[in-house]
Symmetry: none
């Protein structure tokens, strides 16, 4: 996350200014996530210790809220980032971003009560409620990405198609991790599967996705013969 | 590592934009390594403490995985960085980078099971498997560097030759550290030799190598009468 932050900050200058807001959003996503992962690391470290070769709880609770606060901030940004790189018309972009941001916040907010509950019914009910905005977001991004691909170069088309697949692949991972305790995985195995699952999904959905956004921007620049605006251009 | 990070970030603006991606990769390598060395430091600090003038294990395990996660991320970047500065043709650059990145990941992944094993046979077998991609990478970089030197100025030729030697000298150090436990060095001496060996090799292979890449870029710019694009140009 922190290396991605450095990459997005430094390489935004390889892009023309139209694509920089998307890269700035990418930077925000990974710096927010990097910070929360440091907190998650500490919380995990304090919650379990080694006794006779086995990790046992110390009594300090592991705080899953860091992850949800992270998502509450980063998922709306991830949606906005993709909209920002798509070059939509001004009248379409604003309302779409607003709808996606609200849906993303709802999705995370509704998932949390289920995540922290040990009761499987509670987990199921909140999980299902959270699935409604989840489906809406995926549907909206998927159909907008198809529409955005229409007028683009072959290279951009391939990248947009791969971004759709990345989106589906990584986002599809979260419900699976969430469902672990409902699928008979229990105790420390469930705990570890969820945490490892979320962490891997986050790496692809945040860092990998940001790199795709960068690649889309570079390909669009290449298709339009644009170069990064820098002082050198003033002599062109 | 952290000072190199600052150097690479700041001095990339002394380069023209064609060489900046290589410097961005250098920055990523040392920031990733700097982070992992902080983690290695903490893990080492927690794993041993002083009792009656002798360092003894505390019971907290020393986590060697930090080093391998670091290498898994940085070694592919180090390969890509050298390819990026060599100005290869677009059709050659992509496939070469892809092959090197896969080989680097294989090399690290195959080395790890041997590293964490206390059994010398296991260490030998995984070490040998890991040597196959290791030889391939060195061969590919070595031959590409020879080819790249052909059309360059005398100064660039010297730098490319030195980079080849640095690559061979530093990369050659890792197998020696890895082999320590197989060469009769045992117990705490083996542990310390490995850690000191890897750390020195990392400093030269990441920081020293990044500085060489910077020097190559500067020498190429000088040979082509290029100047860094920057505000100073406005007065030219």
């Amino acid at each position: 996350m922190l290396a991605s932050f450095v990459f997005f900050v430094l390489s935004r200058q390889q892009l023309s200014s139209a694509y920089r807001p998307a890269m700035i959003m990418s930077s925000l996503v990974v710096v927010i996530a990097g910070y929360h992962y440091l907190r998650i690391f500490s919380s995990w470290h304090d919650a379990y210790h080694l006794v006779n070769g086995v990790y046992v709880p110390t009594g300090q609770p592991f705080n899953d809220a860091y992850r949800y606060v992270d998502w509450l901030l980063t998922v709306p940004l991830l949606c906005a980032e993709l909209v920002a790189v798509m070059n939509l018309k001004a009248g379409v972009r604003g309302p779409l971003m607003a709808k996606l941001v609200v849906a993303a916040a709802l999705m995370i907010g509704l998932g949390y009560p289920g995540e922290v509950s040990t009761d499987t019914t509670t987990r199921t009910v909140w999980g299902l409620l959270s699935t409604v905005p989840f489906i809406y977001i995926l549907y909206a991004l998927w159909s907008e990405l198809s529409r955005a691909a229409a007028g683009e170069s072959a290279e951009v088309k391939v990248l947009l198609r791969n971004t759709r697949l990345l989106l589906l692949g990584t986002w599809g991972f979260y419900p699976i991790a969430y469902l672990m305790p409902l699928m008979g995985v229990s105790g420390s195995n469930a705990m570890i599967s969820i945490q490892v699952g979320y962490s891997f999904a986050d790496i692809f959905a945040k860092c990998g996705y940001g790199v795709m956004i960068y690649a889309i921007a570079r390909a669009k620049m290449a298709a339009n013969d644009e170069v990064a605006e820098g002082p050198a251009l003033r002599f062109a």
